[in-house]
């Protein structure tokens, strides 16, 4: 589903590359944790998948397609196939829960009828039944992140990228979020989650890819967060 083929990304030619000759293959339906300290290249990885940046060297394949060959007018189509969730939720503060999720469908031209049918289903999937008309500031952090997840998956993307989705949440709430991500994964969506949270990684027992200084230093099929102190530091 996502393949990095000897990918190097250099932002500033005088300093060390953000990603250094990374080769990685993530299959359809996999659940992968991307761990590593701040600056280890996790965010760059996500940006490259979204074609927010171009690889300096090597090729990034998403759903079998080399993203470098996607013309700029087709990039929106690439992004429709990828849902993204962030640490800071990024909800629209002046829109209700329903409107926040519906927004993702409106902007790609879905009809009102389809939206009215789909959004409540997705809100149910993330456990927010009956909160359609709440405003984001009336919700807890965990609930806000659920809205963000609902928005990310409402267009049924094949890939869900989560950039530290539990970074602002307490452990109990975080586990709730992980359950939702797991359910989404079990429904066939490939999930890539960048995280610092060792509890979550150790509990989930999924594939763990560890980045350090832009290189993959570990790729365990059912890994743990790893006991290395420098990895814990970030």
């Amino acid at each position: 589903m996502i393949r990095f083929d000897d990918v190097t990304k250099t932002y500033d030619p005088t300093s060390q590359p953000a990603l250094d000759a990374v080769s990685l293959d993530i299959d359809r339906g996999e659940f992968v944790f991307l761990v590593g300290a701040s600056g280890s290249g996790k965010s760059t990885f996500i940006r490259l998948v979204l074609k927010e940046d171009r690889a300096s060297r090597g090729a990034v394949y998403v759903a079998g397609q080399n993203v470098a060959n996607i013309p700029s007018w087709r990039v929106p189509r690439l992004r429709r196939g990828i849902g993204v969730v962030f640490q800071d939720f990024r909800l629209l503060p002046n829109k209700t829960v329903f409107a926040n999720v519906a927004f993702a469908m409106q902007v790609i031209g879905r009809s009102r009828a389809v939206i009215r049918e789909t959004v409540p289903d997705v809100l149910a999937t993330v456990g927010l039944e009956g909160k359609d008309n709440r405003m984001p500031h009336e919700l807890s952090g965990g609930e806000q992140q659920r809205v963000a997840i609902a928005r990310a998956i409402v267009n049924r993307p094949g890939i869900l990228l989560a950039d530290e989705p539990t970074g602002n949440l307490d452990p109990t709430t975080s586990m709730g979020i992980m359950k939702i991500l797991d359910t989404i994964n079990q429904n066939g969506t490939t999930v890539v989650m960048a995280t610092h949270d060792d509890d979550i990684v150790n509990t989930m027992r999924k594939r763990v890819v560890e980045l350090r200084g832009g290189s993959v230093v570990r790729d365990d099929a059912q890994g743990i967060y790893a006991g290395r102190p420098e990895a814990m530091a970030g």
Partner: protein, 304 residues
């Protein structure tokens, strides 16, 4: 759905940015009013040229007692000289240029003079002897005035050859200047409008960066992301253009139809109907202005 979505985005954009949008409306209003005024001056010049150049006559003034020209040193024109001039004007040599020739005697000149200056006190002090008699020559082609001037200005008995176009061209020069000035003001105001539209779009883009960021992430097309901004500017500019059109139309009704036409019944003025011809031009101009400047701004400030 998309149309409704874009409309609601435009609505929220304008509401958030109301003061900037208002200033865009006002600046485009002023700039397009001057553009339109320059256009109206040009229309008026063309109208008058068309009207007057068909009626322009060359006047050959004949010597009278008090003529000061060298060619009149011999005293007032004689019967023979007058006959010779008339014969030459009607000869085959000038047939291709001359349409009609009429002779105006000193008495007739006095009558015309009194008509023309009916309200002026000098009428009473002027006598027929002080006014020159003349040949009024209307030309086949008004541009060929030089031919008559060269042939007759040194003819014995001729005081001067004058062409009304000299006088008209002075008027047209002034009107041209006025239209150039209007155009210069329009240029400056248009420049202001472009900068202001760019700033407005920038502010609007900044205040909606959350929305546009999310739109990009979920795969909204470039058109859906940018169109609300562009249309926001275009709508403001078109409102400005409509105001400018209304102002020009109102001014022409009031000034031309209501005043100039009655005050100068001899002159051909453009009608307020012709002002309506400018309306689509101004609206198109406003829309283009806003469209292009917002497109250029968006390329810098809204990542797609």
């Amino acid at each position: 759905m998309r149309v409704a979505f874009i409309l609601s985005e435009i609505g929220s954009g304008i509401r958030r940015n109301l003061s900037m949008v208002t200033s865009v409306i006002l600046v485009t209003f002023i700039s397009l009013t001057f553009v339109g005024a320059a256009g109206l001056f040009q229309l008026q010049i063309n109208q008058m040229k068309g009207y007057w150049y068909d009626r322009v006559q060359v006047t050959i003034y004949l010597c009278v007692d008090n003529s000061s020209e060298a060619s009149c040193a011999a005293g007032p024109v004689t019967e023979d000289q007058r006959a010779a001039i008339e014969a030459r004007l009607e000869s085959d040599q000038f047939a291709p240029y001359v349409d009609t020739v009429t002779h105006e005697t000193q008495e007739e000149a006095l009558v015309h003079f009194r008509d023309q200056f009916a309200n002026s006190p000098i009428v009473d002090s002027v006598t027929a002897e002080q006014l020159p008699e003349s040949f009024r020559v209307s030309l086949v082609d008004a541009e060929k005035y030089e031919v008559i001037d060269e042939a007759f200005s040194s003819e014995p008995g001729v005081d001067a050859v004058s062409d009304q176009r000299d006088f008209l061209e002075a008027i047209f020069r002034y009107m041209n200047w006025a239209s150039v000035v209007a155009l210069a003001i329009a240029g400056i105001m248009t420049f202001c409008a472009i900068l202001l539209i760019a700033t407005t779009i920038r502010l609007s883009a900044f205040s909606r960066r959350r929305e546009t960021g999310i739109m990009r992430l979920v795969g909204a097309s470039k058109a859906i992301i940018q169109l609300p901004f562009i249309l926001e500017g275009v709508i403001a500019a078109v409102i400005g253009a409509v105001l400018a059109s209304a102002t020009l139309w109102g001014a022409s009704r009031f000034l031309i139809d209501g005043w100039l036409v009655n005050t100068f019944p001899q002159t051909a003025f453009i009608s307020s109907q012709q002002v309506l011809l400018l309306v689509p031009v101004l609206i198109l101009l406003g829309a283009l202005l806003a469209g292009i400047s917002s497109l250029l701004t968006l390329r810098r400030y809204v990542k797609v």
